[in-house]
Symmetry: C2
Subunit: 235 residues, 2 copies
DNA sequence: GGAACTCGATACCGTACGGGTATCGTCACC
DNA sequence: GGTGACGATACCCGTACGGTATCGAGTTCC
């Protein structure tokens, strides 16, 4: 029973679907199945009932889901506390305007609960700099949207919004195409002003919300922040 | 940062000596050094100061020692709670008379603290059956002394007492050798009746206190009991 | 009722990491 | 300055983790 295995189990137990859980964990389904089975033999208990109707939790599985969540939370806090004891007490987060809603509130709250006051500074930037001042050293970590030039940066996917075309009417479309060769596009899942219509585009790569930081950055708060942000961006 | 790595760190932080910690973990020193270094880069903090005078904890290391201990304790309790939820609620422990002092009290106490009352039954046996009725199915796990016939059993070392020769006087020795080719021997670290003297024997394999259980036994309480017993036998 | 689809399990493979032994570098300490 | 102790380094090997391809069972739909 390792923390990684518990993360796997939590994913499966929350999705109740091996395929989706594997996608969420950025891995393929077979090793995930195997890991869960190993966890079951290790604990000596059946955790999941696999049936054609879907995956359900056994009593042991339900218990483990609760326990594992708190254990993983505590493990995250261990990282933060050690970082604080090591003296790294400030984390500056850069954000684009359009993701302000959910991105930073939760991680900031988690950090503020830590005993030795770690400071999280939020720096909002406009859309002209997708890296929110990462390269300039203005922020330690950026919550932003791909794609952008990733050289020298480490990028971690947080969420993939499907993309839709923003429309007002036929004339508008024609005008838009005439002007710059395309119609307006926006990630779905947001509320747009009332008179606008959005048509989902299925054959287009979804818009990725990502966390990015400078490749060699040793600030230990980055990793824990990414973990918390990952959880926060999953509704 | 995995639980295994944290166990490694706790061992080193408690021993303040890589070699002894490696011995305690039943592994060699180089991979242990490497694992600790990896943990340090993973956490982004220096945990230990290595100097010729010895190993000392940094502030970050001291914090991690505390945090890791509680996290590992909680991980052990997760195992127990899952086992309880799966319905395995009874563990019978067999013990030899001479190890009663420390073996079972601590694990039993830990188990009694668990919410869904897991029952730990203690069964003491005399020295005629070193496996305390393991093969007969009378107990789930035995705390006993090696060596004995280990076929079909899994054996886990808990402690290695150096062996001493028990003496009263020269005549006694001579008599003993004449009688059965040897003098009396006993593991050290125990209080013997006052008039007896004990001479440590250095060239003799130490007496191993071990936990043993039937090889295919799936009772999930066994593993957590072994972990707790291991900790309890280290003073 | 059979064809197609869904989804977890299985088989198999390559690599990476965790473990081992051998050895080095560097301090204390005679 | 020689020697011993101890952590770091170099190197090797086996396991185990993650990958792709495929199977098998169960549901759905025509």
């Amino acid at each position: 029973m390792e923390l990684r295995t518990l993360r796997y189990f939590v994913a499966v137990a929350e999705e109740l679907h091996f395929g989706r859980a594997a996608a969420r964990l950025h891995m393929s389904q077979p090793p995930l199945s195997r890991a869960i089975k190993q966890l079951e033999t290790d604990l000596g208990a059946l955790l999941l009932r696999r049936s054609a109707a879907g995956v359900t939790l056994t009593p042991a599985g339900a218990t483990l889901l609760n326990e594992a969540r708190t254990l993983l939370d505590q493990a995250d806090q261990v990282r933060v506390r050690v970082a604080a004891a090591a003296g790294a007490a400030v984390l500056t987060v850069g954000m684009l305007g359009d993701s302000t809603d959910r991105g930073a509130t939760r991680p900031a709250a988690v950090y503020r609960r830590q005993p030795p006051g770690i400071e999280v500074r939020i720096r909002e930037t406009d859309l002209t700099d997708p890296t929110c001042g990462l390269r300039a050293g203005l922020v330690d970590i950026a919550l932003t949207r791909a794609p952008f030039d990733e050289t020298g940066l480490t990028v971690h996917d947080l969420r993939a919004d499907p993309v839709g075309a923003v429309l007002r009417g036929v004339q508008e479309c024609v005008q838009a195409v005439l002007w710059n060769g395309t119609v307006g596009m926006a990630p779905l899942g947001h509320d747009l002003p009332g008179e606008l219509a959005v048509v989902p585009l299925t054959d287009m790569a979804p818009s990725r919300v990502v966390a990015a930081w400078n490749e060699g950055d040793t600030n230990p708060l980055i990793r824990s922040f990414v973990q918390i942000a990952t959880a926060a961006y999953r509704h």
